[in-house]
């Protein structure tokens, strides 16, 4: 594949490549992408060293403060607790989504009849806008007329206001995220399961391996690559979005669900400390680049990129 591509491009030096056919095909997209990614990146770096204030209309003033924002961030307890909440939320959501998603995929793989229909139905939450998921979640757990809080209180499992308690609110936003994104893991894992040769499984069955033994020795080793892809894809998106928590709790009660993107947004658009927010944003960016790095490394290992 690599050699065929080389034959086509007629030149390996980057400088010459940009004027080749391939380079010219990419040029319009690259110019636009540069304008909307490199310029903002440079700007956010500069912002992190400045005090940026909004004036009325289109006015913005800024004053260079050097490392002021950075020094402030490292001693800011609310930022640290935002990251801590983020890590807890991340581990809880992505962890549960992986476990549930893989379990659902295994389940659907075993079901003989209606596999396709079942998977399609399970995928539905993935296409619902996260903001709607949040609003719908609020409706379902509303303490006076929510369906789920009614079920929980009439079975005696949980009475009271779900979004009012720190722990119950955290659990609720985690489960809403899991509801939307476990299907993605299930979909990707199922693609891996389907690609396992049925003869291999059948041979193991004939040899007397029970289901758990087959899972451990055949199924998990053969889907591990795909599962890691699923994990990284989900991780990157988990860092990107914050719509569900934003809608459901807004970070409350008592900051129990105030993950770092919410803290950032509040710093920028409520307290109007845009420069300081940019500093927090750069750290988030660094984390996401780290995960993206892992992702492309795995892709290259699988022979799919670069």
């Amino acid at each position: 594949m690599q050699s065929e591509a080389t034959k086509y491009s007629g030149g390996e030096r980057t400088g010459r490549w940009i004027w080749s056919f391939e380079g010219r095909m990419m040029l319009p997209a690259l110019v636009i992408l540069a304008a909307i990614s490199i310029l903002p990146l440079l700007y956010i770096i500069w912002m992190s060293f400045s005090n940026v204030t909004l004036l009325g209309g289109a006015g913005i003033t800024s004053r260079w403060v050097g490392l002021g924002n950075w020094a402030r961030m490292f001693s800011d307890g609310t930022v640290w607790s935002g990251w801590l909440t983020m890590v807890m939320y991340f581990v809880a959501t992505v962890g549960l989504e992986m476990i549930l998603g893989i379990a659902i995929a295994l389940l659907i793989h075993e079901v003989v009849w209606g596999k396709n229909l079942a998977m399609s139905l399970i995928l539905i939450p993935m296409f619902v806008a996260p903001v709607i998921v949040g609003l719908l979640g609020r409706f379902m757990v509303n303490s006076t007329y929510g369906l789920y809080s009614w079920v929980l209180s009439s079975t005696g499992i949980f009475t009271g206001n779900i979004l009012g308690g720190k722990v119950s609110a955290f659990v609720a936003v985690v489960l809403m995220d899991v509801w939307e994104w476990a299907p993605l893991i299930a979909l990707i894992t199922l693609a891996g399961l389907v690609s396992i040769q049925p003869q291999v499984l059948e041979a193991a069955r004939v040899d007397g391996a029970n289901y758990l033994a087959r899972l451990r020795h055949i199924v998990f080793p053969s889907i591990s690559g795909i599962v890691i892809v699923a994990l990284l894809i989900r991780s990157m998106d988990a860092l990107r979005y914050f719509d569900i928590i934003w809608q459901v709790t807004g970070g409350g009660p008592a900051n129990a669900t105030k993950i770092i993107p919410l803290r950032l947004y509040e710093t920028a658009f409520r307290f109007l400390h845009l420069g300081y927010a940019a500093t927090i944003g750069l750290v988030m960016l660094a984390v996401s680049i780290l995960v993206a790095n892992l992702f492309t490394a795995i892709l290259r290992q699988r022979g799919l990129a670069g």
Partner: protein, 281 residues
Amino acid sequence: MNKNGSARLSGQKIILNALLVVVLLWTLVPIGWMVLSSFKSAADVLSPTPLLTFKPTLANYASLFFGGNNLLSYIRSSILAAGISTIIATTLGCFAGYGLARSSFRGKHHLAFWIISTRMAPIAAVILPFFIGFTFLHLINTIWGLIIAYLSFNLPFAIWIMNAFFADLPPGIEEAARVDGATRFQAFWRVALPLTAPGIVTTAILCLVFSWNDYAFAVTFTGPGSQTLPVAASQLITQTGVNWGQLTAIGTVVALPMVIVGLAVRRYLVRGLTLGAVTGE
């Protein structure tokens, strides 16, 4: 197989199906409840015990479309912002994805990495420089500002996916066209592009879903006249209370089209959502 074995097998079958029912209930009950509630009258929605039987009404939809806050302008903004951004991203993504798939030069993986990391940048971080830039360029409260913001995740996404789809095509197919006298561009346009039609449709649909469902960019960059549907939905929550009937109706309006188009490309979803890393069933 002895009698005992088959009894155990059917027992397993029952457990499997029961588990599947549980999963389906977990998935579908909130959706079903949303759609159901959108047809309830204001009194029925607020019933303290859940109502499964009620007199259905279109009042929620009627007041959304013909009431005080006219939903049509939000729908228009949503369609324009998501649609135009999708068209631009998919078109440029086809060209660039082909270029990327067919080229090999030193540092290609750096270029590929830059493209993907653009897609993965946290929205909360991206919002800041965009907000300042849009303020300078007077793009706040315009559809074009939103289109540009959506390009920041749709364009790199489209390049990656189309790269994966084009990389699957053996270059020999285009070579044959070249032998017949076609230029490089003609070989791309007439031979390679039609062969990736499923990829193009998948790319377009996923771009549409991502931008249609966006809330953070829309609520930050738009104002009256350019606000999109997700913003309209969140505005139904006010200090004085929440109109849950209308809210479930608007939720249905936002979700239904995306569920339909999303499931339409079900076969290629794995490919698209893993950015080409996993080939579908």
